[in-house]
């Protein structure tokens, strides 16, 4: 046992901070209110106000938001700029689409595109397990997690980080697209897996069933948010931030930072996989263009705009950016790309904390865990002035 006297060695001349941190009960109360509010918005307000078409668009955005929740964890809290989440989104999406295509075709039959391209006599071996929902559904999440685990184990132990990690993850997205396009006979190539009709026996053309898909997506998003919130507020979440801000220091405290990062990366991959899986019934297609480099970057832009280190920032940012993209490209086709680029530059340059730091969605501020924007600006001003 350590035998240390209880008297402080140093007199502390400054009084303790005026605002004590919110207790766990207040935390929980606020979170419960927040989740109830979110649920009401997603389950009652949106379905009442939006047309079927708009609601199905929202379902699509919410899938992007699920990816964003994972990126918020890996990048915002863990410092890993995951620029290749399209890979995991795609793995989940293809796993689901393969199952749905096989289900559409009926027992023992081959998906339409395989017959169309005509080179196959029978279903390829690696397609077969996906005929079973008991394999395909878990695979939508576990497959991306397994790939992330292998990749992360190789990369984090070798201390690849920062821009190198971002480039590497992006290269993976490019490689996956090339692979998919190259194997047209079994993957549908550039077209992807299209024209998906049914979802476990429900006809996806029926608006009622589309609503059901929307509700599943909304519920899943809320569940992922709850998971992310729990992780962020656990001791692991604190450790993850410590690794982000001082990986070497954490090592000297006796932790292996590679393991800490790996967990967040694998969880983020699982979330992206689930998002991809639910994207398929919502939109009816998965293709290389939806999972390559460009969509991978777009996932990240939403997170950056919303505020990467917060819980809700990535979700709101992802939905806002996806919505703005649709709205603006409906009206001014061709300008969206430039606007998106501009948005990214402005946010990164002037608002690194994202919109969350502006409108006070960052609740952390109130808890005294992080200085408010004003205080930070003041501090920055003090640094700049002589």
């Amino acid at each position: 046992m350590t035998t240390v006297a209880r008297d402080p060695v140093t007199a502390d001349p400054v009084p303790p901070p005026e605002k004590p941190a919110a207790g766990p009960s207040r935390h929980r109360y606020r979170a419960a209110v927040g989740f109830a509010f979110g649920a009401a918005l997603l389950f009652a307000v949106a379905p009442l106000l939006l047309s079927d078409f708009r609601l199905s668009l929202l379902a699509k955005y919410l899938c992007v938001a699920m990816v964003a929740v994972g990126i918020g964890l890996a990048w915002g809290r863990g410092g890993m700029l995951a620029l290749g989440q399209g890979v995991f989104f795609g793995l989940g999406g293809y796993a689901m689409a393969m199952h749905l295509k096989l289900a559409d075709a009926g027992p023992g039959a081959m998906p339409d595109f395989m017959l169309l391209y005509g080179q196959l006599d029978e279903l390829p071996l690696w397609w077969r397990p996906f005929a079973s929902p008991w394999f395909a559904l878990p695979a939508t999440v576990l497959l991306p997690m397994a790939v992330a685990f292998v990749l992360g184990s190789l990369v984090f132990r070798r201390r690849v980080r920062g821009a190198y990690f971002a480039i590497l993850s992006q290269a993976l997205a490019a490689a996956m697209v090339i692979l998919l396009i190259g194997q047209q006979g079994t993957t549908g190539g550039t077209n992807g897996l299209t024209d998906i009709q049914g979802f476990f026996g429900y006809d996806l053309d029926d608006p009622v069933n589309q609503r059901m898909v929307y509700f599943i997506i909304a519920g899943t998003l809320l569940a992922l948010l709850a998971l992310a919130r729990h992780l962020m507020q656990s001791r692991y979440g604190e450790l993850l931030v410590a690794v982000r801000d001082g990986e070497e220091r954490v090592r000297f405290l006796g932790y292996d930072p590679a393991t800490v990062k790996l967990v967040a990366y694998v969880v983020a991959a699982g979330m992206a996989g689930l998002a991809g899986a639910l994207f398929v019934p919502a939109v009816g297609i998965i293709s290389p263009a939806l999972i390559g480099i460009v969509p991978s970057i777009e996932f990240v832009i939403g997170v950056a705009v919303g505020g990467r280190a917060t819980l809700l920032g990535p979700v709101l940012g992802a939905v806002a950016v996806a919505w703005a993209r649709t709205a603006l490209s409906e009206r001014f086709p061709g300008t969206w790309t430039y606007l998106q680029g501009l948005l990214f530059v402005v946010v990164v340059a002037f608002l690194p904390g994202g919109l969350a730091s502006l409108i006070g969605l960052a609740r952390r501020r109130d808890d005294g865990e992080r200085p408010g924007l004003l205080r930070r600006l003041r501090r920055r001003a003090a640094e700049v002035s002589p």
Partner: protein, 255 residues
């Protein structure tokens, strides 16, 4: 418990970077519970020595803490053997509170089941460390908003909760006021009751007051070793620090 008190035994330690030998065959023993100061001119190899002990740089020779060989182990394993260090620049986690900093430092042996749960209350060893380093009133404050001296104490507090048995402190009082230095010295004396402490320091006044033993490094080698008085009286040390031996009857020196 006194049986946990271990000494540090360095034998023929060598560290080279691209042909430059930063630590050139250093051997030294730090007795259990000692407060050993490492001094020497810039480039003498003090920090590199600590880097080698903590696994940050590759080295040859032998470094034992108690009966455990440290060389060849990765950084986080050495840390788990009870070796903790601080750096010249403060490296607390600025975006986390003082309490969170200490809680993380205390947790390297925690299971995943514990890690994945939320922290409730303040662990005993963290509360104790908060008192010892005098930051009990600031537990919920962000570490980034602490004054310089307080950050250094937080670093030492992190070593305490980490249960480091060997503390390697790199210039802990640099940039501190007189009062802060006194407080830091008192802190070192207190923690050395059941720990072995090695301090790299340039501040001679601080050294005279708090060092129990001193090792002088010069050009990667041990130049002199002993009590403060012995080292101060060593003409070779005077030569290195003052450029000439104070006593005219100097011993010949290597360049």
């Amino acid at each position: 418990m006194t049986e946990q008190l271990h000494g540090l035994y360095v034998r023929d330690l060598r560290v080279s970077f691209d042909g430059f030998t930063a630590v050139d065959g250093v051997s030294l023993d730090v007795a259990p519970g000692d407060i050993r100061f490492l001094i020497g001119p810039n480039g003498a190899g003090k920090t590199t020595l600590v880097d080698a002990v903590t696994g940050l740089v590759r080295a040859t020779g032998s470094v034992r803490f108690g009966d455990r060989e440290l060389l060849g182990r990765p950084v986080h394993r050495i840390s788990r053997l009870g070796v903790g260090r601080t750096f010249q620049t403060s490296t607390v986690f600025e975006e986390l509170s003082v309490l969170q900093n200490l809680d993380i430092a205390a947790g390297a042996r925690r299971s995943w089941a514990t890690l994945l749960r939320r922290r409730h209350g303040v662990p005993d060893e963290v509360a104790e460390a908060l008192e010892v380093i005098g930051l009990a009133g600031r537990a919920d404050q962000l570490a980034g908003t602490l004054a310089h001296g307080q950050k250094q104490w937080l670093e030492i507090g992190m070593l305490l909760v980490q249960d480091a048995r060997l503390l390697l402190l790199d210039e802990p009082v640099a940039g501190m006021s007189h009062e802060e230095r006194d407080a830091t010295g008192a802190l070192l004396e207190k923690v050395s009751r059941d720990r072995t402490v090695v301090v790299i320091e340039h501040d001679m006044d601080f050294l005279r007051r708090f060092a129990r033993t001193v090792t002088v490094l010069h050009a990667g080698k041990v130049l002199s070793e002993g009590t403060v008085a012995q080292v101060q009286a060593d003409p070779r040390v005077q030569e290195v620090y003052l450029g000439h031996p104070v006593d005219a009857a100097a011993t010949p020196l290597e360049a």
